[in-house]
């Protein structure tokens, strides 16, 4: 019973309304009991039940068994305080009323508790439902947010992918990805463009099918980290870089980057060529120096010996003709050395403004006596008037003209015409000089070689093959260009284009001398050193 009370107690909540009801019912009961009390005598029992019922109803409604208990105790207490000695009788008389009241109050209390509990539960459920709804809404919002985020990141991924594709496609290098079997997994646009194929014809096909000739194995080219190679299927030189990559799936792939380096190779070749020319310059300077002293001795001594031969010796003396031969060949060597020397000079010291027409006329004057001996060859000069002056080393331009004219003569063994033409191209600001002949012409296959040193088609003893390379060397030093055009059987035309001003400082002779190593002071004595410094 007590435990039950305790349980009940916990279920009852004393709201202000309920407390008020309890108070009112207690007051009512006390009033009736006190007021009616003994005066009504026999009615007492009946009346006692009334307030008890009433209070029980109230209390039941209030749902408090504990309050009921209190009411019962108060009932006894009040009965007793009225000076009524028959508490026990009252209790007995009152007992059915109390039991009924008790039961009613219990039921109503239980009912109201139930209702209250139901209401409470309902409220709770509503609250939970509300919370659930809130959670639900929140969840929906989050799902929405997440979807949007996903969409955005998808877009980003897509954009990144496109950017990468565009990047790789914009490169002119061929870029391919192959798997372990050597099949192409991916490639960039340059690759398909280069082979003029569709992506489908390249992807999933073996790499070697694309690059290697049938039956030829160029596999090694695609496994070496870096290699330069000339593919059969692609014109020119290529630099191939191969990288190994491992994907998340553990498989091995290869990235191949193939770059066309033909232009670089060509430039390198040109540089080597010009280096060769520079070396040739150094070399010829050295040769010129080293050869001239021995030639001096050969020529000088043979001439001296000739002079010293007894005047009585016959013209037909074999010794005389031998010495003459030595002397003659000595001079020939000296000639060769002299022409070699033309390479050694690139000094700009002597660059002065000069009239190209004047140079042409001077050359014709200088060579007048030789020209006479050129049988059946006429020289026509068609010179544009009032040419602007050009900065040049006159003597060397004369040399250019002589070399070109000599070649023209050699090309016309049966006679012909050499035409010299000058003109000013005001648009380019350059002077032009044409030297044309009506000779044999130069075959296509030979045309590319004529400027090479020592290239000649002339018999030994007649041509050294240096004439045109000297021309090219001199003109290069003048920032000028020379071109040859020829029709076999009709003739050849050499066109030279001169700038008016010299800009690039040509390599100095000083530097050349140093390269020869001829200037180191291996000998200095003290007094002389003093003399030099005081005279300095």
């Amino acid at each position: 019973m007590i435990a039950r009370f305790g349980w009940r107690f916990h279920l009852v909540r004393f709201t202000p309304t309920r407390l008020l009801i309890v108070c009112v019912s207690l007051l009512l009961y006390a009033l009736v009991d006190w007021w009616v009390g003994d005066a009504l005598g026999a009615m007492e029992d009946m009346l006692a039940i009334g307030p008890l019922l009433l209070s029980a109803w109230f209390l039941g409604h209030a749902g408090s068994m504990m309050t009921l208990g209190i009411v019962v105790i108060l009932h006894f207490a009040l009965s007793y305080s009225n000076g009524e000695p028959l508490a026990a009788a009252l209790f007995i008389n009152d007992l059915p009323g109390i039991v009924v009241g008790f039961v009613i109050s219990f039921i109503t209390g239980w009912l109201s508790d139930l209702l209250a509990r139901m209401a409470e539960e309902n409220a709770k459920r509503q609250k939970v439902e509300a919370e659930l709804r809130l959670l639900n809404e929140e969840l929906e919002q989050r799902v929405l947010d997440r979807t949007q985020e996903l969409g955005e990141s998808n877009e980003r991924i897509e954009r990144a992918k496109k950017e990468w594709e565009a990047t790789v496609d914009s490169l002119s290098d061929l870029i391919l990805l192959t798997n372990e079997e050597g099949s192409v997994v991916r490639c960039n646009r340059a690759t398909v463009d280069r082979f003029q194929k569709e992506y489908d014809d390249v992807l999933n096909h073996p790499l070697s099918d694309l690059f290697c000739d049938e039956g030829k194995d160029c596999h090694a080219v695609f496994v070496t980290p870096s290699v330069e190679y000339q593919f059969q299927n692609l014109a020119g030189w290529h630099h191939i870089l191969n990288h190994q990559v491992q994907w998340d799936d553990g498989k091995l792939y290869y990235v191949h980057i193939i770059r066309d380096i033909t232009a670089r190779k060509q430039m390198q070749a040109a540089m080597i060529e010009s280096q060769k020319m520079a070396d040739l310059g150094t070399l010829s300077a050295g040769v010129a120096h080293e050869m001239n002293s021995p030639l001096q001795v050969i020529i000088g001594v043979s001439q001296m010996a000739l002079r010293q031969m007894s005047p009585t010796a016959l013209e037909t003396d074999p010794l005389r003709s031998d010495l003459e031969m030595i002397c003659r060949n000595g001079w020939r060597c000296a000639e060769i050395v002299r022409s070699l020397r033309a390479y050694a000079h690139t000094s700009s010291d002597l660059y002065e403004p000069a009239d190209l027409n004047e140079i042409v006329r001077d050359t014709l004057l200088l060579t007048a006596h030789q020209l006479k001996s050129w049988s059946n060859i006429s020289v026509v000069a068609d010179l544009a008037p009032d040419l602007p002056k050009m900065e040049c080393d006159r003597n060397r331009i004369v040399q250019v003209l002589i070399n070109l004219m000599t070649n023209a003569r050699d090309a016309m063994p049966n006679g012909g015409e050499i035409a010299l033409h000058t003109e000013y191209d005001s648009r380019q600001g350059r002077l032009r000089l044409d030297v044309s002949d009506t000779g044999d012409g130069i075959p296509e296959a030979v045309l590319g070689k004529i400027f090479d040193p020592f290239f000649t088609t002339k018999p030994i003893g007649q041509g050294t093959g240096l004439g045109l390379s000297i021309v090219a060397g001199i003109l290069r030093a003048h920032g000028s260009e020379v071109q040859a055009a020829s029709v076999v059987g009709e003739g050849t035309k050499f066109t030279v284009s001169f700038p008016l001003k010299q800009v690039t400082p040509p390599t100095s002779d000083e530097a050349r001398g140093e390269a020869l190593g001829r200037f180191d002071d291996s000998y200095t004595s003290l007094p002389l050193a003093n003399l030099i410094s005081t005279s300095g």
Binding site: A285, A288, H289, E290, M291, N292, S293, P294, L295, Q296, V297, I298, I299, G300, V301, Q303, M304, R307, G330, W331, A334, R341, A344, H345, S347, D349, L350, S508, D509, E510, R512, G513, R518, F519, D521, S522, Y523, T524, S525, L528, L531, I532, S535, G536
Partner: protein
């Protein structure tokens, strides 16, 4: 009386040849093998003309010319060179020295020397 020529030439064969050839043309030739010795000789004796190779070890032609001009400004100098460096010739010309290219025809050389002696 024969004119006295001081010849400075580092290459033995050339030196011998020039000495012989000039002697043949009635010059009194003293030959030395470098610029320093030429200066020493020029200080010790008097010459009518100096004939210098432009490329010699130690004092080269131009340096030798510079010293000789200090020591004996009145003596004419003729240069000989196997390697025509424009700068070289120009430098020599600054001292009023003409350079002849090797190989030189001996008659041409003799004529040059005679020209120089006339001045």
């Amino acid at each position: 009386m024969n004119k006295k020529v001081l010849l400075a030439e580092d290459e033995r064969d050339v030196r011998q040849f020039l000495r012989a050839a000039l002697t043949e043309h009635h010059f009194d030739v003293t030959a030395v093998n470098n610029g320093a010795n030429a200066v020493v000789a020029a200080v010790e004796q008097t010459f009518d003309v100096y004939l210098l190779d432009m490329m010699m070890p130690g004092l080269d032609g131009v340096q030798t010319i510079r010293v000789l001009r200090k020591v004996t400004p009145q003596v004419p100098i003729i240069g000989l060179t196997g390697y025509v460096r424009q700068g070289f010739m120009a430098q020599a010309l600054e001292f009023g020295v003409m350079c002849l290219n090797k190989p030189v025809v001996i008659e041409v050389l003799v004529k040059e020397i005679e020209e120089a002696l006339k001045k």
